[in-house]
């Protein structure tokens, strides 16, 4: 998935046509401790991240932090405006009218959290308008489950090819950039 793959970097790819085949294959690959460059699937396969050894995403934490920032800044801002900067008597309500501040605080919290998570996701995944990510196989988005193994050294290259073929992968090939 890397955008700018180094000159001499070699990768081995092969695809499966069923998620269960893929999962079995990944289990084998992990057993053999072959470095996985990436796995491409047409849809999310539950549990694949654990099997492939991916770390948990920190997007929720990001959302939580920004949500907190949102709520504090919204509530703080409204409090400042109504008690310090420009207090107005409105409908006989107190200047610091907490219940009335809640809805906006809530909305800003959600907005901040959502924006932070979405942009976090896009930035971390290098996705965005005009992003030039390499498409290894045009059928990934259809029904190909593609595994991409690192083949930095020739031994790795070989064993990668072997494992892929052995697990029933199709169109096993070496990819250079």
């Amino acid at each position: 998935m890397k955008n700018n793959i180094k000159e001499d970097k070699k990768l081995v790819s092969g695809y499966y046509e069923h998620p269960d085949d893929l999962i079995d294959a990944v289990r084998v690959i992990r057993e053999k401790e072959l470095p996985i460059e990436d796995i491409f699937t047409p849809f999310p396969i539950h549990g694949l991240d654990e099997i492939a050894g991916l770390r948990k995403s920190r997007i929720p934490t990001l959302g939580f932090i920004f949500g907190l920032i949102g709520s504090i800044s919204a509530f703080g801002f409204m409090t400042w405006v109504f008690t310090v900067d420009y207090p107005l008597i409105i409908g006989g309500k107190p200047y610091f009218s907490v219940p009335a501040f809640i809805p906006i605080t809530f909305e800003v919290t959600i907005l901040f959290a959502a924006l932070a998570m979405v942009f976090g996701f896009l930035i971390r995944s290098k996705l965005g308008m005009g992003a030039k990510n390499r498409i290894y196989d045009k059928k990934i988005t259809d029904d190909h489950f593609l595994v991409l193994l690192k083949g930095d050294s020739s031994t790795l290259l070989e064993s990668a090819k072997q494992v892929l073929s052995a697990t029933g992968a199709m169109d096993v090939k070496i990819i250079e950039d």
Partner: protein, 385 residues
């Protein structure tokens, strides 16, 4: 898997002690506190424990109608909770003797507003409604329970299919009666006051505490070596309910409070003014304990998977919504003279004993899981996203 709960002697002893504490404090109260306070406490606990019974059936019915599967592994617990219904009915019947102490509208009055409400707020109609509520609830409860138990012996799907109809009908009946019952029994204490959201607010309040009781019972049974098939995923779901409905309770609490605060119409604000002035600590405490506590405890994804955290959360919610009801009932009955003492705590302990006795007895009568439920197997393989 085919376990059956055994109502062991040691449980009985403990529960008898609890019951004893309740009776002793009742006796104590009769001699030392005014009758209104006793009746108010009886009402509070009647409603609170009746609520668990009802929520038991509501929980089951919602899942049956929604064609959920995961709940089947714990289904027998809410069913057993429901067996408290007839006892609750008897207790409510006893309460009728204390009506005069609780409901001011039963007094002689020349209040034009109350006179306007007399067509609804009068003792005979009140009793008729109570009979209808209990009649309906007990009927549907009995049907749902017996269909479930019958399916243990006969794997035919007809019980399952029938239960869908009964569950649906019960929910409709409950949707109306839960509101009217809360108007009758709680809202009419402050006879002038009204709030359209009140019925739903009370419903969510008791629903959250009902979930808490289910969680506590599940974890208790697991600790006693039962229900080993119940895994973290199931707990996670119950935890999400506890979390989600606590937030929802806050939403309704806020909606009601904010709207009344905002419009500032005296006939509505009087309710909150009394509570803020005379029950200041509990009033804000109620909000903290029922919203912030479960919110902060359960917000982390992993939290609902940890039993200890769940137990703490459930106990807080259990106490919290008792306070919620306390705040709904006491100011109207006792004004500023209410307090929490031996009467309140002792009686509640007694009710806990009685409730658990009935529940355990019922739990022991059938298998701990509905083995023939068509979705039962799904429940075992159940995964949260």
């Amino acid at each position: 898997m085919d376990q059956t709960f055994e109502f062991k002697q040691k449980y009985k002893v403990v529960l008898a002690v609890l019951l004893g504490i309740g009776i002793l404090s009742l006796v104590y109260s009769i001699f030392s506190v005014e009758s209104g306070r006793i009746w108010a406490n009886v009402l509070l606990n009647n409603i609170y424990f009746l609520a668990f019974a009802l929520i038991g059936f509501v929980f089951i019915s919602v899942h049956i109608v929604g064609q959920a599967g995961w709940h089947t592994s714990i289904q027998r617990i809410p069913e057993a909770m429901g067996s408290f219904l007839p006892v609750a009915a008897v207790l409510m019947a006893i309460l009728l003797f204390g009506m005069h102490d609780i409901y001011h509208w039963t007094h002689e009055h020349h209040d034009p507003i109350l006179e306007g409400k007399a067509a609804y707020l009068n003792a005979p109609f009140f009793i008729i409604r109570m009979v209808i509520y209990f009649g309906g609830w007990i009927f549907f409860g009995w049907k749902l329970r017996s269909l479930s138990v019958k399916s243990d012996l006969d794997p035919d799907l007809k019980y399952f299919k029938k239960s869908i109809y009964y569950a649906g009908a019960f929910l409709v009946f409950f949707a109306i009666t839960s509101s009217t019952a809360s108007w009758d029994w709680i809202m009419s204490i402050d006879a002038h006051w009204y709030s359209t959201i009140f019925g739903w607010y009370i419903f969510i309040s008791i629903f959250v505490s009902g979930i808490a009781v289910i969680i506590l019972l599940v974890i208790f049974l697991q600790s006693q070596g039962y229900m080993s098939h119940v895994n973290k995923e199931h707990l996670h779901d119950l935890g999400k309910y506890l979390f989600g409905f606590s937030v929802f309770w806050m939403y309704l609490w806020f909606s009601q409070y904010m709207l009344i605060w905002y419009a500032n119409i005296p006939e509505e604000t009087v309710y909150f003014i009394q509570r803020i002035e005379e029950y200041n600590f509990l009033f804000y405490g109620n909000f903290l304990i029922n919203f912030f506590a479960p919110f902060l405890i359960l917000i982390h994804r992993k939290a609902p998977r940890l039993k200890r955290v769940m137990v703490i959360g459930a106990i807080i919610v259990f106490i919290g919504h008792w306070i919620d009801l306390y705040l709904a009932i006491m100011p109207g009955v006792l004004g500023d003279k209410a307090s929490i003492g031996i009467t309140e705590i002792g009686l509640t302990i007694g009710y806990v004993g009685l409730f658990l006795w009935v529940v355990f007895r019922s739990l022991a009568k059938a298998k701990l899981v509905p083995v023939n439920h068509p979705f039962f197997k799904e429940s075992l393989e159940y995964h949260n996203l």
